[in-house]
Amino acid sequence: MTTFYRRLPKFDYVKPKGVEEAIRLLEDSDGGKIKVFAGGTDIIPKLKQRLIKAPEVLLDLKGISELEYLDYKEGAGLRIGALATISRVTEAPFVREGFPMLFQAAGSIASRQIQNRGTIAGNICNAVPSADSAPALLCLGAKVICLSRGGERKIEIGHFFSGPNETVLGSGEMVKEIQVPPMPEGGKGVYLKLSPRSRMDLAVVGVGAMVIEEDGVFKDVKIGLGAVAPTPMRAKKAEEALIGAKAGEEAIENAAALAAEESKPIDDHRASAAYRRMMVEVLVKRAIHQCLSR
């Protein structure tokens, strides 16, 4: 059990107006003294629970209006600014229609109150293995644009997570944007979340799948898994087994078993590793079937 204090520990607060100012503050802070936040829905509970050491300063990104965008351009795809809230993403018609799996994943995060405050960028920066947006972003081939004094760098979402609650972001670095390429021609996607409660719960297993079927053959498949490894992961062996195979029961069952095999779940109070593994198999199967029937 963690001790829970009702009051927050003491810290200072800054709210820069521009990206340059934020980067300068971060760079000068010498690592760990400043923590960046957007919605605060992850960091505030962590601070109250004393799960992390209180930083000297919390840096609020919400003063930087240039990061508030959520843009879609045909052919170029989606650009999710660091401050685009989860509600904003779920409410955008071009997300619902163009990226239904991202719409499902974002909509399954916590509650309306949290979605109104939290951001997609924050969801991936918090980097819990069960982050709902992650399997969808993995399947969609998203890229994370990070900023530091050195300039911009673009990180494949598959290389962004480095462990539970850990990303490859450096101490002077922050996320500026998540880029999501357009759904490929003929691609169908779905995100399935298994949790005891249908809302306001963390995923016991989260499965995203993106399937392109042509003439009864799997032309391309991407499978993203959440909550079954130290980081959200792609089930690459299962994907390889499916690509080029006949779009039928046999290939799907075989791939689902492979996905279960390559997942690395742990036992915890939410579920046992064995149960999670079984559910990976069930949900991968279900997800691919749903993609095929869409």
Partner: protein, 159 residues
């Protein structure tokens, strides 16, 4: 770690306050403004008892720093009534017995308000999803869902 000056509009009234950065919006609303309708339940965004509207959207005020509310417009349960006339959602909760102990009610009604602002004619499923971030340990939710349904009808002029 100096106190920061903030300006907030709560229920239509402008306040200028000095707050330390580590105080939450909920603490300021309850302790400084003495508006004790919003409740502290879990303190970590799970229960929704502290739900208020900020900029027209519901937030868990226990997870919002008071300094983050600078320049924002906030509505709490106290801001819903007009003079002595309570809001139709509040009225429906009274009529349909949508509360027992009442601890969750202010938050529940704020979530219902946001839902009905967005969707004036929600299905039962949509009502249940709209209040997914609000825990009630008494009612089993049935009466709450019925109250919100009745409020929706009344607000469309069904009286």
């Amino acid at each position: 770690m100096k106190e920061k000056r903030i300006q907030v509009v709560v229920n239509g009234k402008t306040y200028e306050l000095m707050v330390p950065p580590w105080r939450t919006l909920l603490e300021v609303i309850r302790e400084d403004l003495k508006l004790t309708g919003a409740k502290e339940g879990c303190g970590q965004g799970e229960c929704g008892a502290c739900t208020v509207m900020m900029g027209g959207r519901t937030v868990n005020s226990c997870l919002v720093l008071a300094v983050e509310a600078d320049g924002q417009e906030i509505t709490t349960i106290e801001g819903l009534s007009e003079g002595n006339k309570i809001h139709p959602i509040q009225d429906a909760f009274v009529e349909q017995a949508g509360m027992q102990c009442g601890f969750c009610t202010p938050g529940m009604i704020m979530s219902a308000k946001e839902l009905l602002d967005r969707n004036p004619d929600p299905s039962e499923q949509e009502i249940r999803e709209g209040i997914a971030g609000n825990v009630c340990r008494c009612t089993g939710y049935t009466k709450i869902v019925e109250s919100i349904g009745a409020a929706a009808k009344a607000m469309k002029g069904g009286e």
